[in-house]
Symmetry: C2
Subunit: 133 residues, 2 copies
DNA sequence: CTACGGCTTCAAGTTGACTTGAAGTCAAGA
DNA sequence: TCTTGACTTCAAGTCAACTTGAAGCCGTAG
């Protein structure tokens, strides 16, 4: 079983070493074995980090990822953990998409409809059309 | 022409006074007139702040909003400014939507396909299916 | 006169996910 | 032996858009 140094792990997964130390610090990774003070890893850390990245790509925060790893009864299979957390996340994502869609709509309207000369006239129009709140 | 205090402006537009001072500090609002040290505003600030809020709703940063106000030849009508800046923003928004959509897809796949028992198996699967980079 | 409310400035804190920098340890090579 | 390079820890910095806190000024009501 090969002994990976922190920079070797970093290279393989495409992270900075500082990020890996940070993950250990905040409890995403368990404290690594040390050889004269230096961290040594085996292959399983690569799997863990792959899951971390996949989760980040899916929009999870590191807090949520820690829950994914350590926030369940130990016997819970990871597939169950994903499902549980993904459920919550999905709702969030949908809300974010909707919000951005409405920004888009607003931008379109601004692009095509605004004929204002000055900032003040434009602001006055906004206040008239929608109220202050 | 009524003289509005900072808290009166804040009340009317639904901001904290600290936000209004902050806008002045970073150059979104011009320094206000002072009466014995205290800021006094007239109605036009309400229009400006309405534009600020509308721009924020459309996803602009304060930096971009400052450009909207001060980053053009003074004679440029605000409608032109909106169009110019909105163009750039639209591209950004589209990218963000696409990214979130792909997160959603990923989550769906995780929910429906992941059968892994352990984190390590799951990570191994991820690495096998997509490569490390 | 004093208390009070509202205002002022300036510095520092907040959140998330790290990065950067300083100072020090350690093993190996010239 | 000395240097080099990779590593260590710990503290502080980064970004955005503010908020919070401390200390102090100003005008007015009692």
């Amino acid at each position: 079983m090969p002994q990976l140094s922190i920079s070797e792990v970093a290279r393989q997964v495409g992270l900075r070493t500082s990020a890996i130390r940070y993950y250990e610090e905040i409890g995403i990774l368990a404290p690594a074995r040390r050889v004269s003070g230096q961290r040594r890893y085996d292959d399983t850390v690569l799997y863990r980090l792959a899951v971390v990245r996949r989760a980040q790509e899916a929009g999870f925060t590191l807090d949520e990822i820690r829950q994914l790893f350590f926030g369940f009864v130990p016997s819970t299979p990871i597939s169950q953990r994903w499902k549980k957390i993904a459920e919550r996340k999905m709702v969030e994502l949908d809300a974010r998409i909707e919000q951005i869609q409405s920004m888009r709509t607003l931008l379109k309207k601004l692009q095509s409809c605004c004929e204002c000369e000055t900032v003040e006239r434009c602001g006055a129009g906004i206040l008239r059309s929608r109220g202050v709140s």
